[in-house]
């Protein structure tokens, strides 16, 4: 692929396809959500257009068919059924196969393409059978302009408007929104005090979608009007995800002083949120406002607000309006239409826009370039430590010069650290980017295997280095599949055990002291530690006499070739998985732990470093060679007394530290080096920890402690057991980073 335009197209489509997949999965559950349908339509349209531009006519043609289908969904002619969602998802696979061909990594799946195209026909033909419906639905799409005129006529003659129009006004809302209902009654003296309600309104507007309803009831006659007094007050609807505390913090400046400013949260209704959440102001109330002849029922909080209100000053006053919660929304649109009350006709169409996002300028950068940049920053970090060393040497020769250099090195250190932090920041991506694709995996699995599974995601915005995130994908798929396959029971079994027939898998990410914790939790059958133990005994992995804690038993699951399920499933394989998952996680310098309660579910917890590129390292001498130990694994360093060293048959040597017996490994023996000190009482003992296992390492001396850039040995060599990587020291020499997990086990 040498054509840059084509390359760009492929990149763009890759992103769009991901977005499409998420969109379709959401649409399946909220088939009427207009914003979703629009997004999906737009995406498909972009693919079609882009494909045409780069002369991929087959692809453009294929996308065109789906665009047509989606157009009908958009216009309300067809409703998106679960079957259609399946078709749309299949079409994504079709589109992906086109992309494979363009990338040269595969071929177009003609069979799938033909099947899906045929299926479109099926959906389109159903259109004709619902023509009568579609006419009605079409009205729903009345453009805003017409609607406004209806609103006006409604206001004057209280006539019955077309219900579908009202329907649309409500139905078009974004459903799952959360918001607040505010009452803003300011002191009449406010303007005189140099304050301005507009300031608050503008501030509120930055929080989310704000719709203002002015109340004119207390306006005096024009002849009595003092232009420096404030007689207007407002009801406002603020659609935002912000916390009440945040709102409170803004409103706090308008407490007291005769102001009457308050708010209350409005949660979206639990069921079919299509209609109701918008009704932050009751229909009745709105009608009243309208009857009161407010020309612009909902005024966007803009500067023009006040001026337009000023114009209204002479208009008759509305009754004071009480805010009320909207009625809960009904399930079926048809039903709702039937129920629509006359007042509803005049419901204004609150112009809920997509939340206004502060436009952040961004550019797309190839990961390769970032990698290079990071490498260079890595070099700078190394040079910095060389400088450090140099300044020490110069200090020995010429104190003045040394002092000057040391000062410079120190200043530079700050910039280098900052540079390092920044480049790491740039490489961070939300872990949600690998969580969300799981929705499709879960959906497809559940459908195929007649299970009911809900995937919940928490903390998807937790950020992790791109490389870590990417390499986490494989293990994550594996673990989720395990949960679906072996964890979640079929609906009947779940019912029998008085559980919700729909199983839940929770993907959760959070940050914890330089680590990201990723948890995969299911409420399935769980794992019985006794079974695990017996199985391990049967496989002769452990002896039956061994006494293990529950935690240790679950760790057995990670032994190669261990599995408790006898049957082989196409999804989660033959149980060879868990040890490879563990290997993958450890390659990321992370840890994995399982806990489970039979009947209740299983929790797999991954602890991952934020980044792989740079770690804080402790340099130690073993013989004449300097090794680096990740500082995060080092608990302490001690020189034990002879009485602390215990020799135990077959278990080797232990060091007793504050009542705890920790096994001792003489690093020089393990690394076949000639040490300066052969005895722990002469050298130094590092206590390192991985997961909950501790290990004492005998070393000669601690040299230094500083951030190091990790270089993979495998780049130019092979994986060497006991070594996690290499780094370059201040003097330019190579130092190996010890692989603590493998030393501990």
């Amino acid at each position: 692929m040498v054509d840059p335009a084509l390359e760009e197209f492929v990149e763009e489509v890759e992103e769009i396809l991901q977005d499409l997949e998420q969109g379709i999965l959401l649409l399946e559950n909220q088939p009427r959500k207009k914003s979703l349908i629009d997004r999906i339509f737009r995406n498909m349209h972009t693919i079609k257009g882009g494909a045409g531009m780069v002369m991929q006519t087959d692809l453009a043609d294929y996308a065109h068919h789906f665009e047509n289908l989606l157009d009908k969904v958009r216009s309300g002619e067809i409703i998106c059924t679960p079957e259609m969602a399946t078709l749309l998802l299949d079409s994504l696979d079709g589109l992906n196969s086109f992309m494979d061909k363009i990338r040269g990594t595969g071929d177009v799946n003609q069979q799938l393409i033909e099947r899906t195209l045929k299926q479109i026909g099926g959906f389109e033909s159903t259109v004709s059978t619902v023509t009568s419906d579609s006419v009605e639905e079409k009205i729903v799409q009345t453009p805003e302009k017409e609607e406004k005129s209806t609103v006006e006529s409604a206001a004057t003659e209280d006539a019955e408007p077309s219900q579908s129009q009202v329907q649309d006004a409500w139905d078009d809302e974004d459903e799952d929104e959360k918001g607040y209902l505010l009452n803003l009654k300011f002191s009449t003296e406010m303007l005189r005090n140099g304050s301005d309600p507009l300031l608050l309104i503008r501030e509120l507007k930055t929080l989310g979608d704000l719709t203002m309803f002015p109340h004119l009831s207390s306006l005096p006659e024009l002849k009595n009007l003092d232009t420096e007094e404030l007689h207007l007050w407002w009801s406002a609807k603020l659609v935002t995800a912000r916390s009440p505390e945040e709102l409170e913090n803004i409103l706090i400046f308008y407490q007291g002083d005769d102001h009457d400013v308050n708010f209350e949260p409005v949660e979206p209704p639990p069921e079919d949120p299509g209609l109701a959440s918008t009704g932050l102001v009751s229909k009745k109330q709105i009608t009243q406002i309208l009857v009161g002849d407010v020309p612009e029922p909902q005024i966007e909080a803009e500067e023009s607000t006040v001026s337009s209100e000023e114009k209204n000053e002479e208009k008759p006053l509305t009754e004071e309006v009480q805010k009320t919660e909207a009625k809960p929304k009904t399930e079926e649109v048809q039903k709702t239409q039937a129920e629509t009350e006359p007042q509803k006709k005049s419901a204004p169409k609150p112009q809920l826009k997509e939340p206004e996002v502060q436009t952040v300028q961004s550019i797309r950068v190839a990961v390769e370039k970032l990698d290079k940049l990071q490498n260079m920053v890595g070099e700078t970090v190394i040079n910095q430590s060389r400088l450090h060393q140099l300044s020490d040497q110069i200090m020995g020769v010429d104190e003045n010069m040394g002092e000057m250099l040391a000062q410079f090195v120190e200043d530079n250190e700050k910039s280098v650290r900052e540079l390092q932090d920044q480049i790491l920041q740039v490489r961070m991506i939300p872990v949600g980017s690998i969580f969300t694709p799981m929705r499709r995996t879960v959906r497809d699995f559940a459908n195929r295997n007649n299970k009911k599974i809900r995937l919940e995601i928490e903390g998807g915005d937790t950020e992790l280095d791109k490389t870590v995130t990417e390499q986490l994908h494989g293990p994550l798929v594996h673990l989720v599949r395990n949960s679906m396959d072996h964890g979640i029971e079929d609906p009947e079994t779940r019912k029998k055990n008085s559980k919700d027939p729909t199983g839940t898998i929770l993907l959760k990410a959070s940050q914890q002291e330089g680590y990201v914790i990723v948890e995969i939790e299911d409420d399935g059958g769980g794992i019985d530690s006794k079974e695990v133990f017996e199985s391990a005994v049967n496989k002769e992995l452990i002896s039956p006499s061994e006494e293990l804690t529950e935690h240790e038993i679950f760790q057995l699951l990670f032994l190669p070739g261990f599995t408790t399920t006898t049957e082989v499933s196409d999804v989660s394989g033959r149980g060879v998985g868990m040890d490879s998952v563990k290997k993958d996680i450890e390659a990321l310098l992370g840890t994995i732990e399982i806990s489970s309660t039979p009947g209740k579910g299983t929790n797999v917890k991954l602890k991952l470093p934020l980044t792989l590129a740079i770690i804080e390292g402790m340099m130690i001498y073993v013989g004449n060679q300097v090794f680096t130990v990740p500082l995060l694994s080092v608990n302490e360093a001690i020189r034990p007394l002879p009485k602390q060293i215990k020799k135990i048959k077959r278990k080797g040597e232990l060091v007793e530290i504050r009542g705890e017996y920790i096994p001792l490994l003489r690093l020089h023996e393990r690394l076949s080096l000639k040490p300066r000190f052969k005895e722990p009482t002469e050298g130094l003992v590092l206590v390192v920890q991985h997961a909950n296992r501790k290990q004492c390492l005998l070393v000669d001396e601690i040299v230094d402690q500083r951030p190091v850039v990790i270089k993979s040995l495998e780049d130019n060599f092979i994986h060497v057991p006991g070594i996690a990587g290499a780094t370059i020291l201040g003097d330019g020499s190579v130092s190996f980073i010890l692989d603590v997990p493998s030393l501990v086990n």
């Binding site: 130019n716 060599f717 092979i718 060497v720 370059i728 003097d731 020499s733 190579v734 190996f736």
Partner: protein, 175 residues
């Protein structure tokens, strides 16, 4: 060995590239020749990244056989070094001023090879290359691709793709 490269030890990739361009393009291969023991070996110049003198401070890799002498830092790359003498069971000689490390690139990995000295860059025509069946040389025959005969000498072609293949390296772990 009366050639202009004698005595010079470090060559950058650009210099090598230049040498490469000097030769007319016809069927055949351009080789870097080097001395190992009593024999002259050649390897495809396209595999050679650069030539460097023996670096200071190699770091030994724990648990590796003798002929993997260690790793060193080449402008930020961590590169393993293999001593070909030790590898092929020749008496390991004191490293001297002409000892050279040839950095080669195989399977996208950069690896250093210690040789006695670098001799020349030569061009051999395809018809001058013979496949080997049997030969009395020090080097294990399975790492020999063939022999190139030039007007007055014989150059043994080393099969470094095989010598430095992933499988070969992985077999190190079993030692």
């Amino acid at each position: 060995m009366n050639n202009s490269y004698m005595g010079k030890v470090d060559f950058s990739a650009e210099e090598l590239e230049e040498m490469n361009l000097e030769v007319t393009h016809s069927e055949g291969a351009q080789l870097i020749t080097f001395i190992l023991g009593e024999e002259k070996y050649g390897l495809d110049i396209l595999k050679v990244r650069e030539l460097i003198s023996y670096p200071e401070g190699l770091t030994q890799i724990p648990g590796m056989p003798d002929f993997i002498v260690g790793m060193f830092n080449l402008r930020g790359l961590v590169i393993p070094v293999m001593d070909l003498r030790t590898k092929f069971g020749m008496s390991s000689e004191e490293l001297h001023e002409f000892s050279v490390i040839i950095i080669v690139q195989v399977e996208e990995k950069n690896i250093g090879l210690i040789v006695d000295s670098v001799a020349d860059v030569i061009f051999v025509k395809e018809e001058d290359i013979q496949e080997t069946t049997e030969m009395a040389v020090h080097v294990d025959i399975k790492f020999i691709k063939g022999v190139a005969k030039t007007k007055d000498e014989m150059v043994i072609l080393m099969d470094i793709d095989h010598l430095l293949s992933k499988t070969q390296f992985e077999s190190l772990m079993e030692l």
